[in-house]
Symmetry: C2
Subunit: 232 residues, 2 copies
């Protein structure tokens, strides 16, 4: 749990990842044994499992750190506009992919073919989604369907991210992933923004009505105005 600002960087770990991917790309994931990897890396078999709890983990060497970064980002963020915060958080995840395009594309081709790796990736994505949902649940606790909204919005944000990411990966890391994600998140935010009138993109709304019953608390009025104005 030593939260150093920068890890001391273990070279053996990187050597294992490099050796593993070299073999995975040469002969495939299932045709490569852990013994092959450690032989190529020139280390003992036991050391592999010291750095990676399973053979699958070597394919996703940076997700653990990314997940920690993302939860830290959510933890330190302010409480207003939680949906927007989650959208910002998911951009951190995308950045981890786009920082190493070739590596991400290679991994994508692997996970697309190997069912075991796909299942592992699902569990990783699920942990991100859980982090979103937990964050949203806390902020939406008072609302009518707090946990339901939290779960659905978290799933929608994750799906939007995956959609943008996949199309970027399919283009061999050529397109603008960040713009695609912004667009996808715009769709999600438009669908879930405020309880009132999610406007379709065509016919941009230039007329919206405000009605406040006597006795409605002022914070609700303010919240409603804010969510209405922020929607574009």
């Amino acid at each position: 749990m030593s939260t150093e600002p920068a890890a001391p960087k273990p070279p053996m770990r990187d050597a294992l990842v490099a050796a593993a991917f070299q073999l995975f790309l040469e002969r495939g994931y299932e045709q490569t044994t852990v013994d092959d990897i450690v032989a190529l890396a020139g280390v003992g078999r036991r050391s592999f499992f010291r750095y990676f709890p399973s053979k699958e983990d070597v394919v996703f060497p940076d997700h653990e750190r990314c997940l920690a970064d993302m939860t830290a980002f959510l933890a330190e963020s302010s409480d207003d506009e939680p949906v927007r915060r989650v959208c910002d958080a998911v951009r951190i995840v995308l950045r981890m992919y786009t920082e190493n395009p070739t590596f991400s594309v290679q991994r994508y081709r692997l996970t697309k073919q190997v069912p075991g790796l796909r299942a592992y990736e699902l569990s990783v994505v699920w942990r991100y989604e859980r982090a979103f949902a937990d964050y949203l649940r806390d902020r939406l606790a008072g609302r009518p369907d707090g946990t339901l909204r939290a779960d659905v919005v978290a799933a929608a944000v994750a799906a939007a991210h995956n959609n943008a990411l996949r199309s970027w990966l399919r283009s061999d890391g050529e397109g603008d992933a960040s713009a695609a994600l912004d667009h996808a998140l715009g769709y999600v935010q438009q669908a879930f923004a405020g309880p009132r009138a999610p406007h379709g993109e065509e016919e941009p709304e230039d007329v919206v009505v405000i009605v406040s019953r006597r006795g409605a608390p002022m914070w609700r009025v303010v919240r409603e105005i804010e969510s209405t104005l922020e929607q574009d």
Copy 2:
């Protein structure tokens, strides 16, 4: 690929499931070996892997059939209102759970504790979600963001289902899961239905904002006020 209307029902398969769950509940999933299961069921070890490709599969013995039923339902359904069709399809999945409450609750407790089973369940849920997304993608092909909408709606429907299912499972199968699912799907449909303001049924909005840009025709202001006021 023999698509019989009703499978001949292999008794050995059921015996294996029964023996497995008995041992899983007694000593836990990871403390039970396949040898233990086949010994209790009185069959050969090789037969276990004939019926279940892995130890995890015995925990979800009916998902394969349910997935087939659901995709068949989607395949035979008409093309209008695809989102509603997907919502109907997910009810089939919930029904599979509610048909065997005690079994489902037992399995829920297992998957909650064992990470490997949770990962397996995620891959199952993912296949449902993919079926939704594929169905929606075909119907939304022409629309602006066809695949994006398909992915996001599919994820939202699956999340709504999981939310309703989990709360039902947590209540030991006592509550009304179907009603909870209807409610959750109502939220999702309200978020994604049509471009125009679908009002949520509960939480009657007592605060609504009106914004009218200069130059907006008066009849639009009047229409918006009228439709807002008449909503209850």
